[in-house]
C-alpha cells in the first residue's frame, strides 16, 4: 500500500469537506478498495472513513417503502427481519455476497458506488427501479450505473441511502466465478406494479444491464418455463478465462429461470 492519510468523518457534511482534496476517496466497508490499495492498484492520497456516521446506517421498512442506509453492512441486510418479510430477495442477495467476514464489513453504499461489474447489488437496484440518494440529490438506478466501475456520482458526492418499493415478487440467483466467488452471472427478477424487470450482473461488458428478452418473456407469464427457452444474445457480454460470452449467455437464462422459481416459491 502506498502512504495515505486516514480521516474519520463524524458526519456526512464533514465527509464531504474531507473529500474535497483531489485524490481523496471515501472508505466504507473497504472490501474492494483496501485490497486494491494493498496491491498498489489504487493510490488515494486520503481516505475518508464513512463507517462511523450514524446517519448512514440502518434499514427502515414502512409499508412497502424500503430505505437502506448506505453504511449498512451486507450481514445487516441479510439478517434484517423486516426486510426479509418485505423484500426477501434483497436479503437473500446480501447473504450471497462474498463470505461471512466480508459481509460483516462490506456495505451496500460501497458496493453501489464502486459498481464493480461482478457485484450483486446493482442488479437488484436496477431491477427494483430503486433510487440512489446522495448528499446532493436522488438518482434513479437506471441513470446511476453508467459503465464498468462508473456511476453518476460526482466528486465529493456521497451515497447516503438507497430506497425502493417492495416488489410483489422477486428472486436472485447467481453463478459464482469458481476462484474469486464474485458473480459470473447474477440475475435479479422483480415483478412489481410497473411490470417485470430483469437485471443482470457479472456478465455485461458495460456492467449491469436489463435484459429485454427475459423481461418480455416474463411479462406474459412469470414462470420458470417462460424463460427456459429464451436465448440471450452473447454480443455484449464479457469473455474471460473463466467464462466465455456464450457460456455467460446460457447461464443468464439458467439463472433467470432459477430466480423466477425462487421468486415464486
Amino acid at each position: 500500500m502506498y502512504p495515505v492519510n486516514y480521516h474519520r468523518a463524524a458526519s456526512v457534511a464533514e465527509a464531504v469537506n474531507l473529500l474535497a482534496s483531489e485524490d481523496a476517496k471515501a472508505l466504507s466497508g473497504g472490501m474492494t478498495l483496501i485490497p486494491a490499495m494493498k496491491t498498489r492498484l489504487a493510490a488515494p492520497s486520503d481516505l475518508v472513513d464513512l463507517g462511523h456516521i450514524a446517519d448512514l446506517k440502518g434499514i427502515t421498512v414502512s409499508g412497502s417503502e424500503i430505505t437502506i442506509g448506505a453504511a449498512t453492512t451486507h450481514a445487516e441486510v441479510a439478517g434484517n427481519a423486516a426486510l426479509k418479510q418485505a423484500a426477501p430477495a434483497v436479503a437473500h442477495l446480501a447473504s450471497l455476497i462474498g463470505d461471512p467476514h466480508v459481509r460483516h464489513k462490506g456495505t451496500i453504499g460501497g458496493s453501489v458506488a464502486n459498481n464493480d461489474p461482478a457485484a450483486d447489488y446493482p442488479a437488484a437496484l436496477l431491477a427494483l427501479g430503486a433510487t440512489i440518494v446522495t448528499n446532493k440529490r436522488s438518482v434513479a438506478a437506471e441513470d446511476f450505473f453508467t459503465g464498468l466501475f462508473e456511476t453518476a456520482l460526482e466528486d465529493a458526492e456521497i451515497i447516503t441511502s438507497v430506497s425502493f418499493t417492495a416488489p410483489e415478487r422477486a428472486g436472485y440467483e447467481k453463478f459464482r466465478n469458481p476462484a474469486s466467488r464474485y458473480a459470473i452471472v447474477g440475475v435479479f427478477v422483480a415483478k412489481g406494479a410497473d411490470g417485470v424487470r430483469v437485471a443482470v450482473a457479472g456478465a455485461g461488458d458495460e456492467g449491469v444491464f436489463r435484459s429485454s428478452e427475459l423481461e418480455s418473456a416474463l411479462s406474459g407469464s412469470f414462470t420458470p418455463d417462460a424463460v427456459a427457452g429464451v436465448k440471450v444474445p452473447a454480443d455484449n457480454l464479457m469473455s474471460d478465462m473463466h467464462a466465455s460470452a456464450e457460456y455467460r449467455a446460457s447461464l443468464i437464462t439458467v439463472m433467470a429461470k432459477r430466480a423466477v422459481a425462487r421468486a415464486n416459491s
Partner: protein, 162 residues
C-alpha cells in the same frame, strides 16, 4: 501517522502508526500477536480473521485506524486462562489442523459461525459458511467435523447454563 487505541484481548492498547498500517500488521508487529496470519493479498484465504466488536472480519482488509476504538479478540485471546475454548478443543480432538497456518483464522471464523447459528449447524451449512477460509492441508473433512462437534458442545453448554 495516526494515533490508534483499542481493546485487544481485554487489554487497552495505543500506538502511533503509519496510516497505511493494516490491522493485521498492527496486531502482529506492534502487539506481537503473531497468531493472526497473512496468507493472501486478495481478502480470500481468511488466515487473518479476528473478531472486531464481536464480529469475524478479515484483519488484512481493514486499516488499523479504522479499528481504533473497537474491541478486538484474536486467537490469543480466545481461551479463558488455561482452558481451551470449545472450538479450540474440538479442532485438536478431531484433528482439524495440520500445518496450523490457517488454523487461527479457521477457529475465529468457526466461533463466529457457531454464535450466528444458535439453532445448530449441519454439514452443508458449515461448508457454505467456510467460504472465506482456505485450508490446503486437511481437505476440510476434519475441520467440518470439529466445528459440528464444537457447535454441539456449545449448545449443550448453553442449554445447561439456561
Amino acid at each position: 501517522m495516526s494515533d490508534v487505541s483499542m481493546t485487544v484481548n481485554g487489554k487497552r492498547v495505543s500506538a502511533a502508526v503509519e496510516d497505511r498500517t493494516l490491522l493485521v500488521h498492527f496486531l502482529r508487529e506492534n502487539l506481537g500477536l503473531t497468531g493472526t496470519h497473512v496468507g493472501c493479498d486478495t481478502s480470500q484465504c481468511g488466515a487473518c480473521v479476528v473478531h472486531v466488536d464481536g464480529k469475524a472480519v478479515k484483519s488484512c482488509t481493514m486499516i488499523a485506524a479504522q479499528a481504533s476504538g473497537s474491541t478486538i479478540v484474536t486467537i490469543e485471546g480466545l481461551a479463558e486462562g488455561a482452558d481451551l475454548h470449545p472450538v479450540q478443543a474440538a479442532f485438536k480432538q478431531h484433528h482439524g489442523l495440520q500445518c496450523g497456518f490457517c488454523t487461527p483464522g479457521m477457529i475465529m471464523a468457526a466461533t463466529d459461525m457457531i454464535a450466528r447459528h444458535p439453532e445448530g449447524l449441519d454439514e452443508a451449512t458449515v461448508r457454505h459458511e467456510l467460504e472465506g477460509n482456505i485450508c490446503r492441508c486437511t481437505g476440510y473433512h476434519n475441520i467440518v467435523k470439529a466445528i459440528l462437534a464444537a457447535s454441539e458442545t456449545m449448545s449443550k453448554g448453553a442449554a445447561k447454563a439456561a
